[in-house]
Subunit: 299 residues, 2 copies
């Protein structure tokens, strides 16, 4: 199956206790695509400015990511700056320069319209709905969101939710969208919007999968060294959807394994700045870490 | 194997969003003993005042708990009052009247000195050390502590830790004792004190087992209704040690299963006020919930 991701491509300036990196490749679509590419081919729709470095484009091309849908607009590429200080779970944003992203509307190349799996990364829910108008009959649609859209456009987020097979969001977002503090009740409230299945990412505490017929919980891997958490959520989604697309079935056992592969990819991602670690890992590394999760959790 | 617990027996007044209960049976030794008694016989050392209700004593006796070590002192029984408001993970203490507990020194009946498994519930580390002076050659010593002792007597807590086979504590306590924010590094720091194995309780996020040769993580059960969290940690310890004592072996697979049984008992405990739910569950209930954990976590 082929996978389409629509999201941001950015230049990130990030500071963590392990150092500072200036204008490295980032953005939700980049993290998703590189993570997903380890399992399945990916097509990317997004926008960059004329200043987007060739070296960044090559980082994506070398992973075999189809960039026919990456628009180049007049102006500057989206830039984000942030820092992780005491709490490695939450970034403090220093600046957000939307630049060309401000006027972005996703335009799918004709060949992308028949994509089997679609991931609506964290962008304005209006744009997420525009994507859904352009795809023909995807077999699986998954999406993400963020607190900004839950504050500004909660009704549109709910409309998107009603059209998602899988809503992948973090615990704070699930609580915010549902108004429920308890995560099971939060997930049930989201399911009642029409979402097929909810995946809740809990950072170091792991992830939950809540479907009408199944509930699965995976603890976090016990990581001693987190270099940079940026992109962990999108790396999770990339591994999750990449595995499902490669398997070609969306049964409960496949969804459970997809949560594990998502966690595997997120755990690699946080080991380096930007996409460095995600780009260097091998199929053997991925298999070994999947086995680490098994060893950690079996009883 | 026989199990000895030394800890508090109290009358609790607790308020949660589900109601208020006045002067019901509580205390670390009570919760531990009733939980443990589902797996293995328990001997209890503690103190109550002359006002300790017969009905409370009978609640413990009916579970087959050996109360030969329960001293009755002149004065009033230890009383604690607290409330869980917005955050069901943390109680706000309204009052603590130590009463007879203030002058308590554990005195083991001769027959208790050869106990196989000892649980030093959350009491002054000085008293925990007094217990260790009185037992002969226990095969397994486990213990708990709390923030109060980590503030007042950190060196004594470390001395206790050096003599524990298993230190069962919560995430905040592990961080406080070690000075490490990362839980793996916190556990390693505690292991370096001489503790054989560290179990970290993370409330709704589950539990971790960290030994020199093994690491195990169990997510929390997905509970929608928590009536009263009081005693969850001691119920965990009771299930944990009760299972190990009944099995009679302390191998890695047994320790992993013990974490699950501990979590099973804690999950029952929070379903009612005081010891109500823990006292009414059957072996079938316990088996079924163990299977729920399996179903929730397998992939």
């Amino acid at each position: 199956m082929n996978v389409l991701v629509v999201g941001s491509v950015a230049l990130d300036t990030v500071e963590t206790p392990h150092g500072r990196q200036v204008e490295t490749l980032g953005g939700s679509a980049s993290y998703f695509a590189v993570s997903c590419s380890h399992f399945n081919p990916v097509r990317l729709v997004g926008v960059v400015g004329e200043d987007f470095p060739d070296s960044c484009r090559q980082q994506l091309e070398r992973e075999g990511i189809d960039l026919a849908g990456l628009q180049v607009s007049r102006g500057k590429t989206f830039r984000w700056g942030g820092a992780y200080r005491h709490d490695m779970n939450e970034a403090v944003t220093d600046f957000t320069h939307l630049n060309v992203f401000e006027e972005f509307h996703p335009l799918l190349p004709e060949a992308y319209r028949d994509s089997d799996c679609v991931f609506l990364a964290n962008i304005d829910p209006e744009l997420q709905l525009e994507v859904l108008e352009q795809v023909k009959r995807p077999r699986l649609v998954a999406g993400d969101t963020m607190n900004l859209w839950l504050e500004l456009k909660p009704d549109l987020v709910r409309e998107v939710a009603s059209r998602l097979d899988i809503f992948i969001l973090n615990d704070a977002e699930a609580r915010m969208l549902s108004g429920e503090a308890n995560l099971v009740r939060a997930a049930e409230s989201i399911l009642s919007l029409g979402t097929g299945c909810v995946v809740i990412k809990k950072g170091e505490h792991g992830a939950l999968l809540l479907a009408p017929e199944d509930r699965f919980a995976l603890p976090g891997l016990l990581l001693e060294r987190v270099v940079d958490p940026t992109g962990a959520g999108d790396s999770f989604a990339g591994g999750f959807l990449g595995y499902l697309a490669a398997e070609g079935n969306f049964s409960s056992p496949a969804l459970r394994k997809a949560v594990v592969y998502g966690s595997v990819m997120a755990s690699f991602n946080v080991e380096s700045f930007s996409l460095k670690r995600l780009r260097e890992i091998t199929p053997g590394d991925i298999r070994a870490r999947f086995e680490s999760f098994k060893k950690l959790t079996v009883f």
